[in-house]
Symmetry: C2
Subunit: 273 residues, 2 copies
């Protein structure tokens, strides 16, 4: 089964375009968990159990785990294993923003796709597609290319206009849509904080699926991004919220509060579909 087929099934089953970002900062998890063994994993497990019927995907960001060294990576692996075993229909994305030259990428491919068994990984475009071949060749997994990121200063390079009058992020979008996606296993990252750019990329990339982070804490507007981002099938976007869901409460009932926030986001998205 390809990434897209797996995604289509879970989107339909859970009626959801919500991705929960497991950006589990160990300093922010509830006091009751902090002293537990594998505290980060236990936190993730509670969030996953409380939201698994509301989402299409989970997206742990590698940085929050690497911050705790090999111990963090071990709990990241536990998290992927738990999702893959308990809720195998749900998409898993490693948000790792990797990209090295060809030979070296085999290491990241092994880490993300084979060891963690993630369904997809986020990637920088700067080195070009020749460098990313080890990812792009994996027809069973998604290569999710950064196109327009959600941060404030995203335009510093992404808005540079070429001699031919094309903006950088659109050049990335065109290359990915027309060339890199030959096997149908590419996606793009477009920040929820840039709905106009999202609409522009939708025009370029026909029905391709986008990963759209930046709602919730970062302030992306759900109505605008759903309207700008939907493809001709009424899907084609995975909308990620991290802190806005997982750290909505730091109290004893954090998982229930996270569930409530996930329901809210799911329903708000579906209102505009």
């Amino acid at each position: 089964m390809t990434f897209q087929e797996k995604l289509d099934v879970i989107v339909k089953k859970n009626k959801s375009l919500v991705c929960v970002g497991l950006d589990t900062d160990v300093n922010k998890i509830p006091e009751q968990l902090k002293t537990k063994e594998n505290a980060v994993f236990e936190f993730n497990k509670a969030i996953i159990d409380a939201t698994h019927d509301l989402v299409c995907a989970y997206k742990p960001n590698s940085a929050f785990y690497e911050a705790n060294g090999d111990e963090g990576i071990r709990q990241l692996k536990m998290t992927f294993d738990y999702i893959n075993k308990t809720y195998p229909e749900i998409i898993t994305i490693l948000d790792a923003k990797r990209a090295d030259i060809g030979n070296t990428n085999n290491g990241y491919v092994k880490y993300a796709f084979d060891w963690l068994n993630a369904d997809g990984i986020t990637l920088h475009p700067y080195l070009g597609s020749e460098a990313l071949k080890p990812f792009l060749e994996r027809v069973d997994k998604a290569s999710i290319i950064l196109c327009r990121t959600s941060n404030k200063g995203a335009g510093e390079f992404q808005d540079i206009v070429s001699k031919k009058g094309e903006t950088m992020y659109k050049i990335v979008a065109k290359k990915v849509a027309e060339d890199w996606n030959k096997l149908g296993n590419c996606m793009m990252v477009i920040g929820a904080t840039y709905p106009e750019e999202l609409a522009e990329v939708r025009k370029i990339a026909s029905d391709m699926t986008f990963l759209v982070p930046g709602v919730g804490a970062q302030g992306g507007d759900v109505e605008k991004i759903v309207k700008a981002g939907l493809n001709s099938k009424g899907a084609g976007i995975i909308i990620n919220s991290s802190r806005g869901i997982i750290f909505a409460s730091s109290g004893a009932y954090f998982a229930e509060v996270a569930r409530r926030e996930a329901i809210k986001l799911k329903e708000e998205i579906n209102k505009y579909r």
Copy 2:
């Protein structure tokens, strides 16, 4: 002490601009080590002990360690600890090619600078300087920005020409040199396979130090890159060879052969300084 001060001391002491890339692919290490506990670390230790008086820097590439999950990361940490304890004058660079948005980069900063205690890290420019702030603020550590990478298809984006007639990699170079480097803690990566581009960036970046990978296995020409890359002080480049040194032999005397290759590279570089 800043990165640059530490670098200047060791370059002078060892009379060397050589960086050895510890790209330790577990499948390529000599048979005699493969069955040992901590085989990757033991291999690195042997290489380091055999070359420490010939180099200015070591550069493990994170991908080769991540390929082995938390176990790989543990041996990466052992490698950094060993260098920092045994040869504290030598520069350590984590070649990780990271870059996320602001908040998230704190995790990578913690991983690379605080947990591994690397002196520098390689970074993608695509998200802009606002995103990279957590790295750029660390005046004690080097932010080493990808400008012109050594791979064949590097030009796919890096050669795009802007409306103002500037090539993308030169736009990156200018921004890094004129703006991002306010604290004097930036470097740039320029592939040895592109000596002409290296010369162009030298014109833009005055005396800034460049990390130049791609000699040895990738075929970069030492004479050309030294002539194109040296700054006004006869230094300003760290020339990296990985496979060409560490996997020069897979026999029992691999460390001695690596030493011989490191001497050869050091002397060839110094011939043109």
